[in-house]
Symmetry: C2
């Protein structure tokens, strides 16, 4: 029985997210399991490093599956590239230790959110950015970002009702960068809660639009109330960039 790691990219536009639904064509996990199960001749589960939302993309998603096959990693790669749709790309297939688990062993993730900060149309990247025509004040956003960094209970920056598991996370990097008409927000943490990146970005955008004061940030952590944080920005601007393992 082998354990295979998959390094994946996908354009999430057509999908309802990572996680399997009844119809395999609707999700990334569903599509992968369909093709891999056919390849192995047996129903096979594909484990992802985490779920991505409907419409969210990935450059560096990591998944793994267990299976018995005579095929080499190169042959598995060729099979998957042949049968997966062109909006799901397998970058690499690697044989890994049997104990490797793409979700449990992940120690760090990086997401990027892309804002098209212009009223000019963004024809070619339109499915990968969120258009916000009003100018953003990056200095204000950077100040707010510095208050979000570090170890906090991020529950108010999530769509979780409440959680039995810890909602404390360490946000190690929250970088804001202008690249032409685009504003890119890159977030690295030991893990992210449900909708956490999209709510962090929504909060930063409200600060950048001067609809919210930087000084409000600590109070959001103190009260712990979701409604105190910003709006959840659209999924299509979000991309999972990298998953790091020990």
């Amino acid at each position: 029985m082998g354990n295979y790691r998959l390094d994946l990219s996908y354009d999430g536009s057509r999908y309802r997210g990572w996680q399997r639904l009844d119809n395999p064509d609707l999700t990334i996990q569903g599509k992968l399991e369909q093709v891999i199960s056919r390849m192995l001749g047996v129903e096979t589960e594909v484990i992802g490093s985490g779920r991505t939302d409907g419409g969210t993309h990935a450059m560096g998603q990591v998944a793994n599956f267990h299976g018995k096959t005579e095929l080499s990693c190169g042959e598995i790669l060729a099979y998957l590239r042949q049968y997966l749709p062109e909006d799901i790309g397998v970058q690499a297939v690697t044989a890994v230790d049997e104990r490797f688990h793409s979700r449990y062993n992940a120690v760090e993730k990086t997401y990027r959110y892309r804002i098209w900060n212009s009223d000019a149309p963004c024809v070619f990247e339109r499915k990968y950015v969120w258009q916000m025509p009003e100018p953003l004040d990056l200095e204000r956003m950077e100040e707010a970002a510095s208050l979000l960094l570090g170890t906090h209970d991020f529950l108010p920056f999530s769509s979780l009702k409440k959680s039995k598991k810890s909602t404390v996370r360490t946000l190690r990097r929250l970088e804001i960068r202008r690249a032409g008409p685009e504003v890119q927000i890159t977030a690295t943490a030991d893990g992210f809660l449900y909708h956490m990146v999209r709510i962090l970005v929504g909060t930063l955008v409200e600060v950048g639009l001067k609809r919210r004061d930087t000084a409000e940030i600590p109070a959001i952590f103190e009260t712990g109330i979701r409604a105190e944080a910003g709006e959840t920005v659209p999924a299509k601007g979000l991309c999972l960039m990298e998953v790091v393992y020990r």
Copy 2:
């Protein structure tokens, strides 16, 4: 009666090209004429700097239309952005001299062809590149490009049967550049014949794959026979970058 210049970008994936067909939804010109005619309340023709093929894109297409309206250029821009689909972007609307004609007055055009020269999947740019997994030898291609430059009868590098009009063009620039896994070919000329860029690229690719010798290039011009030149590469890798006016 005003004359308005449009600077346009479009993702040609969904369209059968620039030129109007019976169904306005199938072409870029058709979509523009539909929206502009509704805006002006009268059937209006939109003149383009030239046709682009079905599936070919544009970053810097230029068009113009004549019409009588109380609307300012800013208002026309806002109207078009509101009613055009998101794969057709209007970058600017400018009031121009009545004699301005986007096709007759164009003195130079630049196209870029993008080749994804890797067997790795190209998920996000897949509609804008042509994938060619076999490695291309850029030095050979540059040598061939230098023989294509200049003033020639480009008839053998076109899909025209024959032409009453001159098929002599001056190719001023034919640059080949590697950008990561991509090979970009940029061509500038006083004008291009039907399919000319795609056949020039097809010929260069055959040289880059060592299926064809650089020395064959002059013979193609001499014989003037289409079959001597390379294959027509797919439309989706092609993008009209710029149209220059005097």
